[in-house]
Structure formats: C-alpha cells, structure tokens
C-alpha cells in the first residue's frame, strides 16, 4: 500500500468510531450528564465502557466554587498573559482544564483548595480584600512573594508550593491547547516523510550524516 493511500485510509478510519451510551432516563441530572457526554468530543474517540463510565462520574459534579474559578482565572492569566506571540491562559480555557483535572486527579484537590484559601488570607491581611477583588498592582505584589522560590520568605513557602502547582497546571493547560501548541512551535502530529535533520540545522551545530548513514537510511 502506498503512503498516500494509507493516509486516506486513516482518514476514513477515524470516522464513525463514536461510542455512545444509551441515554439514561432515571433522573434529570443523569439525562443532563448524558446529553453533555454525547456532545463531548471526548466520547467520540475510542474508549472502553469502563473508561466512559468513570468519565461520566468525573464530569458529573463541580469542584471549584465560582469564587475559586474567578481566582484561578486571574492567576492563570498572570502566569500566561497575552503577548506578542499568542493569547492568554483564559483564551485557551485553562481554568476549565484545571476544573476538570482536579476532579480527574483528586490528589490535586486539597493543595488547590487550600492554596486558594492561603492566597485569599494573605491578600485579606494585606489589602483587606480577597485576591480576585484586588487591584492588578496589589495582585502582582502578592504574587511576587510566592512566584520566586529562591527569595520567598519562610512564612510564604506554602504559597510557593501552591504557585508552583498553579504554574504547572496552567502551563500544561495552555501548551496542550491549540493556541499553546502553535506558540511553542510543535510542528508534528501530521503525516509526513522524515528526511533527517534539515541541512541548515546540521550546519548550525557542526554535524553531518556519515556516508554509512546516507547509504543505509531511508
């Protein structure tokens, strides 16, 4: 089979693999979840029935309160703001990802919830307001105390751990989004032919393929 044909085959292979669960009519809530699940692209890719059941349980509830979600939105946009290259964390729907992932990985729930409270407490002590209601300048003043592990005061160490976690989750949510993948310049995930490292790159690093490699490799 030639390469073009195999790519074509792949295209139709990816269609029609939807896994739909029978809508359950026992309660309105269940019906709502089923509806959400059916409209969810995730359920249209290959999943074991056990996986799909677990997924439905994960998305059934909400974890963060509206207050917490607003705080996460502010924090994630401080970490990944819009710049000359790309959009912001909220442009890439990072808070929604964080809401999902703490339900999917429950071990993240306590550090996130506790960290958000720690942040509000510090903010209330300093500015008499929860973090999300502070002025941008005040928010950055507090973030500066927890964003740099090497200079943070000992009493802010828990804040540093929290901010490291939020930075990690924000970066994951952002760089795995369409906006973020483009920003960081990942160019794969598509049919191609690997011809080796481009010549100008080889030259840049003073490298070259050996005659043996050029002869033996495709």
């Amino acid at each position: 089979m030639d390469r073009r044909k195999s790519i074509k085959l792949m295209a139709w292979g990816s269609l029609g693999t939807g896994v739909f669960m029978e809508a359950c009519k026992h309660s309105d809530k269940k019906a709502t979840i089923e509806k959400a699940v059916q409209g969810d692209p995730f359920t249209k890719i290959n999943r074991m029935p056990e996986e799909l059941e677990e997924y439905k349980k994960v998305i059934a509830g909400k974890f963060f309160t509206p207050h917490e979600m607003e705080t996460i939105a502010v924090l994630s946009d401080i970490i990944i703001p819009r710049d000359a290259v790309s959009g912001s964390a909220t442009d890439a729907k990072v808070p929604d990802f964080i809401e999902f992932i703490v339900k999917d990985k429950p071990e993240l729930q306590t550090p996130m919830r506790g960290g958000l409270l720690f942040l509000d407490l510090q903010s209330t002590k300093r500015f008499n307001k929860p973090f999300k209601d502070c002025a941008a300048k005040e928010q950055l003043q507090l973030v500066d105390e927890i964003a740099y592990p090497a200079r943070a005061k000992p009493e802010m160490k828990q804040g540093v751990s929290f901010f490291n976690l939020v930075r990690n989750l924000t970066a994951t949510g952002f760089y795995t989004s369409e906006i973020g993948v483009r920003d960081v310049g990942y160019m794969g995930n598509q049919p191609t032919v690997w011809k080796g490292v481009p010549d100008d790159v080889l030259k840049q690093y003073g490298l070259s393929y050996t005659d043996k490699e050029l002869k033996e490799c495709i």
């Binding site: 195999s6 056990e50 160019m187 393929y209």
Partner: protein, 579 residues
C-alpha cells in the same frame, strides 16, 4: 443471575489459543493458514487499530491532555486497555516484595502499544550458564531459531542495519530512519567515549512490504497503534489476516478459568467465563496453546488441578511460576544547553528512538554477570500533561536569550522560557538481563480470588547484587554520556545504594518471562524444547513463559519466532498423527 450451569460450545477445534498478543497471534496466524480450525480466546474486547487507534489526535482532544489513568497508564491516547491494575482482578505480594504486573485486555494485547524494539537473541544468549555458570542454558541455540527470525523479519517487517556483531545478529532489515538532532549529539558523545550507537531495530515499515499494510508516515505515535498497519501489532498484522482465512473463531471478553483434562491427563479443552453474561462455558480442542502472558499462563496451569495433575497442569517438576524475571531498568535525563532556542521543524520520526546502544562490554571484566542495552529519547515531543513541569528548577539556572533570570516567575518572560527550553531535553534508559532464579516466582494465593472466582497470583520476586550492580553501572554510563555531550543531568542523577541506584521494581519494564520454562529434563522444566508440556503432549505455551533466560534484549521478537517454530512443529505432529 439465573441458575448456574455450564454451557458447552458444540464445535471441536484443532487448536484452542488462549491470549491474542504476540505469541497467540502468531500461533493463530500459522495454524489458521495451515487450514486448522482455531478458537482464539481473548479476555478483552475486539480492537482494530484502523478504527480504534487514537493516532493523530491532538492534545486538546483529551480533557486530561493525555495524562494517564488506571485504564491507560501510558496516557490517555495510548493503545493499550488496562495496565498495572484491573478492576476486579487483583494480585498480591509476599511481604514487601514488589512485582508490578502489566496486563492488557484487548485483541492484540500489549502489542498494540509496545515499543516495537525487535532484537534477536544472539548465540551467547541461549547459553549463558556455559559462559558464567548462572541460571541455565536453553535446550536450543541460535541456530535452531535463526530461520524463524529470518521468516518473521520478512513476514512482519523490521528496520535496522547489519553490523556484523557477534551477539546482536544481522537480520533482514528495511532501511532505518536517519537520526534526529539529539540522537546525533548522543552518537557523537557516546562513540567518542567508546560506547557504540547504531540504528535501532524496530518493527515499523519504512517501506511497504505488502498490499494489506501501509508504510510509516512518521507521526511518532506507534504507542497509540497504527491505523495504516505500518507497525507490528498482533491485532492488525496477524489476527485480522488470520480471521480472513475463515478458520478462526474469535471469542472476546472470555476469561479462561482452567485447562480441562481427561482421566489420562490429556488436555481436552478449556473452561471460561464470558464477561458479557458472566456465564460459564466450555470448549473442546485437539490441542491447547497458552499465550496469556508468562504470569497468566502460569496462573492457568496452576489453577488447572486434577487427579492426574494434582499440582497443577504440566507441573510435575513443581517449577511452574518459578524463574519469573523481567528486564532490569534504570534511567536518567538531562538538558542540552547547546540546544536551547532551537529552530523549529517536525522531528516526530518513527515511534521511538532512531538509534540505540547494544551491549558493548565483556562481563568477565565487570562485577555483574549480564549486559544491558540503552534506549534514547528526546527532542520536540507533542506537548502533553506535565509539559515542562517544574520549570522553576530550570529557568533560574541558565541565561534565557542572554538574560539571567530568577527561578520561577510568571508572565511574558515565563512564556519566553517555555519556548526557550522546549526540545532541549534528552533521556536514556538501560534495559538489562536479570538472572532467572527458582526463588523469584509467582504462585497461587491460597486466600484470594478475582471477580470471576478465579484464584489470583501472589508474587514473591526479588533482585540480587547482580542486578543492583548492573543498575549502578547503567547510571555511571548515563552520566558519562550526558557529560560527554555537554548535557546537564536534570533527573535520575541522585540515585545511590539507598534505592538500588534507581533500579526499577521487577515487572516494571513489562518483559515478564520464565514461568513455564523449556528444558530437556522433565524434572526441572515444564516444557520440552518445542514449548510442548512434558506432562501433557497436546499442551503448548508460546508467550514469555518458555524463556529460560531473557537476554539484554526485548523479548517480543523471540516470542514471535518461537511461537512460529512451535506452531510449525504442531502442524507437523498433527500430520504425523502424534497429536
């Protein structure tokens, strides 16, 4: 549930094959193509990569962005159902011993996602006891298997190069892909300090070999299974073609309970639970071929007790479950400052490394008896869950675009850091040979059953100084290579005697072997040199179970070669009316 009863399948098969991974797939393929009627029994559901693979899905198409779950421990897009734990199917350990047991439940088993590393065992690998006095020699040698390696190279396809190495035999290879940038760095650094780096040997089609399968289009996602059938999976390359012969009845979601025998001790068939209706079924066959994985096959034999086989089937030697061993593993990673701020291009390549290091030293001059090979990774991978995790440990250490910054941070400056460091990471992992020992084993737990009522395995596996010293040597080698390439170690560099130098738990490398080993002496080996039970001549085992030792090579290519050899022997014995 209705009244409990056992339903009998009416058809009598020439062969009942249990398990559809590499060994079971090959047996099914060979037997069905010889015109024999085969029942293929698989504990998981149907799986066809062309429909079911998650190849070319983008990270945002997974709500968890490719993070792992218990259903897919290698990530949300991975092509293997289940892994370290399966709901309702526990396993236990003696004391605080560790065995990590990977179990796939799907057509094709773990071959849907494996690394496609396809290494022949060499002449020395079959005769290690003769070399170092440890373990046992195989009852066969490379010369007995070579013709089968040649056949599977042609049938399944593998790329690589003929290097004329004594214990890493040449094969019938497709052309390998050119090394990626970080692989050129590795090659230059390692060869500069006397460590060979040669093209890897992976069962991926860099050229088309037949009309049924496509050729590689370089997406690096073999782990998701290939919709173009351009890599080797038992599902796509062996079983689906075997079904087309019309000689195979496929039973999916069928969890085999035991092998049935008659009063003479001959195997008559199997009993299984159909997971769809939780009913008990039996089927009969002229032969039974176990390929459920080294540990599952041992479990089946030990659970198949009868008056004639009071100790479990094929176990008069009392060694079924013993000599269980895995490849050893240790790893380390670093970052190459010279690669910071790299020019972007698509370097996905094939799924896995383009180069590797075969074992290159003489163990007689070392303080551990067996070797290891080195696998390499790095470069511009698809961003997934965990992308540049803990950048605060990195971005304070190097000037970014000429500017030294404080570790951590946020904002536009942080975005610059993520771009700057992307694609500069490199990793390496050793995969070595452990000694198969009688006192490292699995057995039936006398107290625990799974949700099908089948007694489960209890593991009691340990490592000795041999494996620990080998891991220490791996770590020293990795440090030397990283240093020689100007890289800075970022993980795996802190291991020491307190944690056995980062030696992974047994089982973790997913190369289980040795539980139903072959040998000429029925007193210490359940199988003869054809993988046929000494105690029960119409019973065969064709997974990792028959392995006497497993070399410093991944075992799949040898499972396939031996399964083909056993299948041809079965056909011959059936023709001669010996079975």
């Amino acid at each position: 549930m209705g009244e409990f009863q056992i339903r009998k399948q009416p058809k009598h098969y020439d062969a009942i094959v249990v398990g559809s991974g590499a060994g079971g797939g090959m047996a099914t393929y060979i037997l069905a193509h010889a015109g024999l009627k085969v029942a293929l029994v698989e504990a998981g559901p149907m799986y066809d990569p062309i429909k079911d693979s998650l190849q070319l899905k983008s990270p945002w198409e997974s709500p968890r962005r490719g993070a792992s779950t218990k259903f897919r421990p290698f990530g949300d897009f991975d092509g293997c159902y289940w892994g370290w734990e399966i709901d309702g199917e526990p396993y236990t350990h003696v004391g605080d011993t560790k065995w990590e047991w990977w179990r796939a439940r799907m057509l094709g088993g773990r071959t849907n996602h494996w690394g496609r590393i396809s290494l022949r065992f060499g002449p020395k690998d079959f005769k290690r006891k003769s070399i170092d006095g440890l373990g046992d020699d195989w009852p066969i040698g490379y010369e007995d298997v070579k013709a089968y390696y040649d056949k599977i190279d042609r049938l399944l396809g593998v790329f690589g190069t003929n290097e004329g190495l004594e214990n890493d035999p040449d094969g019938i290879f497709l052309p390998p892909p050119k090394p990626r940038l970080h692989e050129l760095f590795i090659k230059k650094a390692a060869t500069g300090i006397g460590i060979p780096v040669i093209p890897s040997r992976l069962s991926i089609l860099t050229k088309s070999i037949n009309k049924e399968r496509g050729s590689c289009f370089y997406c690096a996602q073999c782990g998701r299974s290939c919709k173009a059938y351009a890599d080797f999976s038992s599902s796509s390359v062996l079983i689906i073609p075997a079904i087309r012969t019309g000689n195979v009845d496929l039973f999916t979601n069928a969890m085999v309970r035991e092998v049935l025998t008659d009063k003479d001790g001959t195997a008559t068939g199997i009993s299984y639970v159909d997971k769809n209706d939780m009913q008990e079924y039996q089927m009969t066959g002229r032969t039974v071929v176990l390929a459920a994985s080294a540990c599952e096959s041992a479990r089946l034999l030990l659970n198949s007790k009868s008056q004639r086989h009071p100790n479990g089937l094929a176990n008069s030697s009392n060694v079924v479950g013993k000599y269980l061993h895995d490849s050893t593993g240790a790893s380390m990673g670093g970052i190459i400052p010279e690669l910071f701020d790299r020019k972007r291009y698509n370097e996905d390549g094939v799924g896995g490394m383009h180069v590797y290091t075969p074992w290159w030293l003489d163990n007689k001059k070392l303080d551990f008896p067996r070797g290891y090979h080195i696998e390499y990774g790095g470069g511009f991978g698809m961003p997934l869950y965990g992308f540049q995790w803990d950048i605060q440990n990195l971005n304070g250490k190097y000037a970014v675009k000429g500017k030294k910054k404080e570790a951590g941070g946020y904002g536009a400056s942080l975005k610059e850091d993520y771009r700057f460091f992307y694609g500069a990471h490199v990793g390496m992992a050793g995969r070595g040979e452990a000694i198969a020992r009688e006192d490292s084993y699995c057995e039936i737990d006398p107290d625990v059953v799974d949700k099908y009522g089948i007694p489960v395995l209890r593991f009691n596996t340990t490592y000795t100084d041999y494996e620990i010293k080998q891991a220490k040597h791996m770590k020293e080698t990795f440090s030397e290579i990283l240093h020689a390439m100007g890289a800075v170690t970022t993980w795996g560099g802190d291991d020491g005697p307190e944690n056995n130098y980062g030696l992974h738990n047994p089982g973790n490398i997913i190369h289980e072997a040795g539980t139903v080993r072959m040998g000429n002496d029925p007193r210490n080996s359940p199988l003869n040199k054809w993988s046929q039970a000494h105690d029960c001549k119409n019973l065969f085992v064709v997974d990792g179970g028959p392995f006497v030792s497993q070399a410093d090579k991944n075992i799949t290519w040898t499972i396939l070669a031996l399964s083909m050899r056993t299948s041809e022997y079965m056909i011959d014995q059936m023709k001669k009316r010996n079975l």
